[in-house]
Symmetry: C2
Subunit: 164 residues, 2 copies
């Protein structure tokens, strides 16, 4: 099984820090400064909590909770760290996502989280009962940030961050 | 034409900062703290230059200068910020890269910088004089970090960061 990305989601100071120490893995952003803290580490003195944003480690599978599916927009700032540990994706509240369903008799996922998919590239393929293959391509070029597996139809939802 | 990624490369303190102000766009990393500075901004007091790393904005096309092609390894720490402005790739000195040539009568680039290419995916295609098409696939899954265009054969070199 592939390793999962790490997810950090904007939260309140109280959820991240108590008595000057972190309650969980947190990323603190204040202007152009970023501090990556593990659990039970001290919040540096130069951080003014009233001016800082706090992002707390969250279970990756819960990413969809921070997306408004009707508006297709992020409802919070999040950071994704891909399994290579070297790639970070910064999403901001209000960012538009393309949410694209994968539905068919058989479904083959092609693109993975972190993949950049261009309008000419298929991110998934579906086969109908008659054996016709359809390749699914995104309306805009973007990066896959989440793939939701749901038990009802349409089975899979791709969350793709379009390039502006 | 597609926008280019931004490149930051490890350098000395003197190259980045003079009289407490930045000489160019710089990223300063001290332990778990990162500071992203524009030109002519003040280095924050909490940065101890003797413990910090300084990465300076560099022309993206010069990425290859920081790679040892024989050893296929990075010779400096670098950060790439992809054209979406939301994705950062952190490369460390000593990181192994796959450097893969694209050589043929006609050459078609498929994967772009930032693309994750799996062992089953073609990153480029070449056609021989006889009209045979060959798809080029990487020996390991990885992310394309640079594509070098050179005037002599083999014409293009893909620099791919493999996933460990």
């Amino acid at each position: 099984m592939e390793k999962l990305p790490k997810l950090y989601v904007e939260t309140t100071q109280e959820e991240c820090v108590k008595d000057g120490k972190t309650l969980a893995e947190c990323v603190v952003i204040m202007g152009n400064v970023e501090v990556w803290l593990k659990e039970n580490e001290e919040l540096p003195d130069f951080i003014d909590p009233s001016r800082a944003k706090f992002l707390k480690r969250e279970v990756y599978d819960r990413f969809y909770l921070y997306v408004d599916r009707t508006e297709q927009k992020m409802t919070a700032d999040v950071i994704l760290v891909l399994p290579d540990g070297r790639t970070r994706i910064y999403l901001k509240k209000g960012d538009e996502l393309m949410i694209l369903p994968v539905e068919g008799f058989t479904k083959t996922l092609i693109a993975n989280v972190g993949n950049r998919v261009r309008t000419g590239d298929a991110f998934a393929a579906v086969t109908t009962r008659k054996g016709e293959v359809h390749y699914l391509k995104p309306p805009k070029t973007g990066t896959v940030v989440f793939i939701d597996e749901i038990t009802n139809r349409p089975h899979y939802l791709y969350y793709i961050l379009p390039e502006e």
